[in-house]
Structures are given as C-alpha cells and as structure tokens.
Symmetry: C2
Subunit: 229 residues, 2 copies
Amino acid sequence: MSHTAETTQVRAPGVRQAQKLRTRRALLDAALALLEEQSLSSLGLREVTRAAGVTPAAFYRHFRDTADLGVALVDEALGSLHTTIRTALAATVRDGTGPEDGGGGEDGGDERIDAAVELIDALVREYPAHVRFIAREQHGGVTAVRAAISGQLALFGAEVADTLAAVPEAAGWSRADLLMLAGLYVDHMVMTASALLAAGPEGGTRAEVARVARRRMRLISLGRRHWLD
Amino acid sequence: MSHTAETTQVRAPGVRQAQKLRTRRALLDAALALLEEQSLSSLGLREVTRAAGVTPAAFYRHFRDTADLGVALVDEALGSLHTTIRTALAATVRDGTGPEDGGGGEDGGDERIDAAVELIDALVREYPAHVRFIAREQHGGVTAVRAAISGQLALFGAEVADTLAAVPEAAGWSRADLLMLAGLYVDHMVMTASALLAAGPEGGTRAEVARVARRRMRLISLGRRHWLD
DNA sequence: GGAGTCGGAGAACGGTTGTTTACTCGGTGG
DNA sequence: CCACCGAGTAAACAACCGTTCTCCGACTCC
C-alpha cells in the first residue's frame, strides 16, 4: 500500500510520521467498526481510543473531537469510493441503446443496468462499514458530517451530470435537468446500497433487493428516454 | 389542582390515566424536540426527563429505555401522517392523463404532481420534527427503531401498490412491478421531505428543491407510462 | 369511607464520560 | 552528537450517566 521504501528512503520518509499515521489509522478503523452498531453522535471519545489501543489523551493529537473524526471518515469513505462510483455511473449513464436502429436494441441498456447494480453490490460487499456509515450519517445528528456528505454527493452529482451531457442522448437537455437526473441516480445508488446492506449477505432477500433495484433503474431510464417528448 | 369529577364524568376516563398520558406526552414531546439536533442513540434518559420536567425514575413508568421511546415515536409520527400520506399518494398515483384522447392532456398529470409535492411541503412545514426523526432514524443506529420504520414504510408501499392497481393505467402490471413502483414513490417522498427540511423555511433554496422534486416525479411518471412497451 | 393501587419524587450507587495536566522517551534536524 | 520536538502515557478532575431503592400522596374501586 504505502510507499515505505526500505533502503534508500530519503527526504521526507519520517519514521516518526509513519507511526503517527498508524495510530490515526487505528483510530479511524476502530471508530468505523464501532459505528456499525451505533451512530456517530453517540460515539464516545474514550470508546474509540479503547478499541484502538491508545490513551484517551492521544486522541487529541489527531482530532479535535468525534465530529472531526467523522468528517475525516467521510472524506476517506467517499474519497476511496470515488473512482469506483465514477466507473459505475459512467456505465449506467449510457443506457440509451445507442442509435435506434431497428428494434430489439434495448438489451444493451439492461445489460448496462445489470452491470451497474452488480458493481454496487460488489462495492457493498467490499466496504460494508463505509457504506453503512455514509447511509447512516447522511441524515445523522452531526451537522458537520451531514454537510461533508452532502457536499461530496453534490460533487458526484455534478460529475455524473457532466458524463451524462457527453452522451448523444442528452441532446436538448438543459443543465438543470441533467443535474436533476444525476441527483436521482446518485440518490438511488445510495438507497440501493443501504438496502443491500440491510438485506445482509444471504442470497434470498439480497437477490430480491437487487432485482427490484434493477427494475427501478430501468423505469428511470425509460423516463429519461421519453423526457423530451 | 383539579377537583374530582365535575358532575357526571363517568366510566372509564380516569383522572389518573389522564395525568399519566400527560407526562407520557411530555416525555415524547421533549424527546422529539431534543432529537432535532442529535440522533436517538445518543439521547440520554436523564436528558429527556429533565426537558420534560419529571424525575428520571418516572421514565420507567412509561418506557423500558430510550429505544422503546423511539419505537413509540415512530408509531406516533408515521401513524399520524398515515391518512395524510395516503391522500397525497392517491393524488399522485393518477397521473396517467387518463385515456389518451388527443394530445395536450399531459397537464393533468403535472397538476397532480404539483399538488403532491405541495402536500409534502405543507406536511414538512407542519410536522418538521416528525419528518426529521423518521428521515434520521430510518438508517439510524437503533435496530428496533429501524425495523419499526421500515415496517411502517413497507405498509405504506403495499397500500400505494393497491391504489396503483385500481387505476386503469395499471392494466398488465404485475404485483411485483406495482410494489417496485410504489416503493420508488415512497422512497422519493421521504427523500423529498428530508431535502425540504434541510433547505430550511427560506424561499430560495426550498423552492428550488421543490422544483427538482417535481421534475423527478415527472420523469418517474414518464417511465411508468412507457413501462409496458 | 377505607383499603389498595400506582405514578411520581427523592436520594443514593457505581461506572463512564470529556478534558487537562505533567511527564517520558525515541526519532529528527542542525 | 546533542538539543529539541512531539506522539503517546498516566493520573486526576468534575460532571454526568442509567438504574434501583424507599417513600409519599392522590386517585380508584368496593
């Protein structure tokens, strides 16, 4: 992962700062684990340090309070998922079945949707704690964290709108409408991720959730296709 | 204070139970007020009793713990909004512009959508604390409350699906697809309510949020209209 | 009208919280 | 090589937490 050069490490390596980042990592991981069964506003400072194996006072070397830690968690969670989500959305966006040559071309759109939902599913499986944290604190009790999340999601929305604008089907769409559709996609993605998380790793309910998510996306894409009528 | 029964106050009322319900009311109201700036899992028992003007020990006469109180709040919030939401959804459902006689009939659908969003807006203005509570605890840290909310919302969804099935445009729709669409409506309603709440009572941003919500609904209705193609 | 019920008050308990202080001690830079 | 810096420790602080106990007094039922 990190670039800890062993031999000719020079300049700015810092064994010092490396250790600092390690405990910071421990604090973030411990907090994320604890947040699977409670929300941020009830997360105790001592609770985190205890789980991380450090002293309560050490916490202040990294964060002002638990809310500050929460904001850091938002950046980490949505930052790491940034490229992944971008890929997913780019795939979803192009569902217009391309030029309407002949019929039966609709499978292309459905395949894109299937791939997108599958990607969300894989994402939830790989980073369940991050997804849970975002879904929970999106409307949570800590103002700063809420603001951070909505800011990041708005960023995603704008990015999706840009991607949407690039495809030929978007001809004639206003910027406002593109943002509207992009926001709908993003919100639906968060909702789907949360639903998948709540369904658990079992096959039965989870498969049904994915099925419904696909149909919802298909309906939205259908509406998108006929928007300019 | 109050003397006994005034004249022919009889049978089952009970001055006793009336007072009990009064303090229960005080506890619920105090909790709801406190929950505007934090989440349920961080809500303290003593905090609630202090705000309600009663002793901590009195709390146990009404609820086992704060999670139990949260479930009661869910029933109250979604129970009271039940009829209102039902009305709103019944209005939204019929957006198919009726029989497709000639063109230009689409305004009917848009008017329904406008009315529905307006109703949500009014609902948020009248019960902001309830709406905030539901939106926040829907993915919150208390399992029992989460289950209660999702159960109530699933009930709403089924009800909306029934209403949808009654309109002529639903011919040929499977029950699963009706539930899918109903869930999409319900989720979108909660999202819109939360967004309106976050926008605050000011005219500028709030009006924009309502505008986007209307467009989203219009797009969904469009997809619904072309679902069976 | 008297016995009984019960919602609420009051006080006490052990435990945990966030925060601050003084201190250690190993990596860092001149 | 040595002085310094700073991440982390240990201890102490008052405040608050959830829970339990005993007790009071007003309502209820017969």
